[in-house]
Symmetry: C2
Subunit: 243 residues, 2 copies
């Protein structure tokens, strides 16, 4: 069995709004092969798509002001969180867990203030408008499957891990139900979060601090399931026991 | 930056109770280097440790009988789940989520009936008694860091992903808090589930069906945080918003 290789793309410059991300990636000198998978941190996709918001331009509504008092968070950030979400799941000091409009249940609607350039004014970075569509567009340009990853906390486990918020050209979810196990018994629960495992693997190289590597190539990964988007990873409301 | 390689160990035989797992691994011909990380599926560690239970030997108590009626599950399995757990978090038809005695909140206390040999009688496989200790013992024998992985479902995401239930010789959790981000701002939430990301990465090669590969070597992974066990990944009760 061939090894699976993960390669952090060197030399990717700081991404700015309006940048042609596919061109920046090709300029690193590493050209993805059609059977590679390229994982891109949400941050650089959002930046290229101009999803940065100046906090000066945000006016918190009454609901944001109230939630800001409850959590001790900046009311303008809370306003952005509410705008990006369909409902608040939990709120505690310094933590707001919502269901994002994309379906993901996550902290602070994925809005990040770290690593966002501030020239006098503060900025926040929102998730891409449609990460599956962003992944599809990048996949078409780069000629390989794409995963757009973010770091999520978990309900019962400490520490964040990489998850897929967008993907194209590969199955977000692999359904092994019905395949026999080693003794011919049918496997019961065998739906695997394939794109999430890819994002977590890339997270091992991405890091989050000064030496961050926002693009990681996987070479040698194999699968046989049909492609499906990252929205398939969202557990439907009727299956959600922790709303 | 050197690539990270993941290599599934070929030719590992079916593991039986009492087997010397370290010896079986060395017999594959792949000798781990001191800076490799070896990920082992919980299943083979549990088997070697004799954690298989014959269902014939299990007598369900009244609480197990009641929960079995509620969920439609085998009362003997439910009895084992209760014995292995400190509390039931949610119960629904065909699903019991408990907090395992090891601290993990998970489905069915990690008890698996698939891939467990049945010679006339049915068997279930429990988690190792102390997976961090199992990892430490294997690490001492094999001379490299060890992660013992299992596949967990998630509260709000479909599909299982690999997580670490035991580890030795590496940090289960990496705390980047206080390290400056690209613009010198202090990062806020930067505790990463390092061992969970390792387990998820290995999950890409392990699969779960007939062609399952229960041992995966990572070569080229770097870290600088001190080692800590997988129990550190369990969110303490006072931080748990989804009990």
């Amino acid at each position: 069995m061939r090894p699976l290789q993960l390669i952090a793309l060197p030399g990717l410059p700081m991404v700015q709004a309006g940048d042609d991300l596919a061109a920046l990636i090709l300029a690193t000198g590493i050209t993805p092969r059609p059977d590679d998978v390229l994982v891109l941190a949400q941050k650089i996709v959002s930046k290229a798509e101009g999803r940065e918001v100046r906090l000066l331009d945000v006016t918190p509504g009454p609901r944001a002001e109230e939630l800001a008092r409850e959590t001790g968070k900046d009311a303008r950030i809370v306003e952005l969180i509410l705008q990006e979400s369909v409902r608040v799941v939990r709120a505690r000091p310094n933590l707001i867990i919502t269901q994002h409009r994309l379906g993901h249940t996550m902290a602070n609607a994925g809005i990040d203030q770290s690593n966002v350039m501030q020239d006098g004014d503060e900025r926040a970075l929102l998730l891409p408008l449609d990460p599956d569509a962003s992944a599809a567009a990048l996949s078409a340009r780069l000629g390989c499957p794409i995963v757009i990853s973010d770091s999520f906390g978990r309900a019962w486990r400490r520490g964040t891990v990489g998850v897929a918020i967008g993907c194209a050209g590969l199955p977000a979810l692999v359904d092994l139900r019905g395949k026999p196990d080693l003794f011919g018994r049918e496997l019961h629960v065998t739906l695997t979060g394939f794109a999430d495992e890819i994002a977590a693997a890339a997270g091992l190289l991405m890091g989050q601090a000064a030496e961050g590597m926002p693009a990681v190539l996987l070479r040698g990964l194999r699968w046989s399931a049909p492609a499906c988007p990252a929205t398939e990873l969202v557990r439907p409301a009727q299956e959600d026991l922790f709303r």
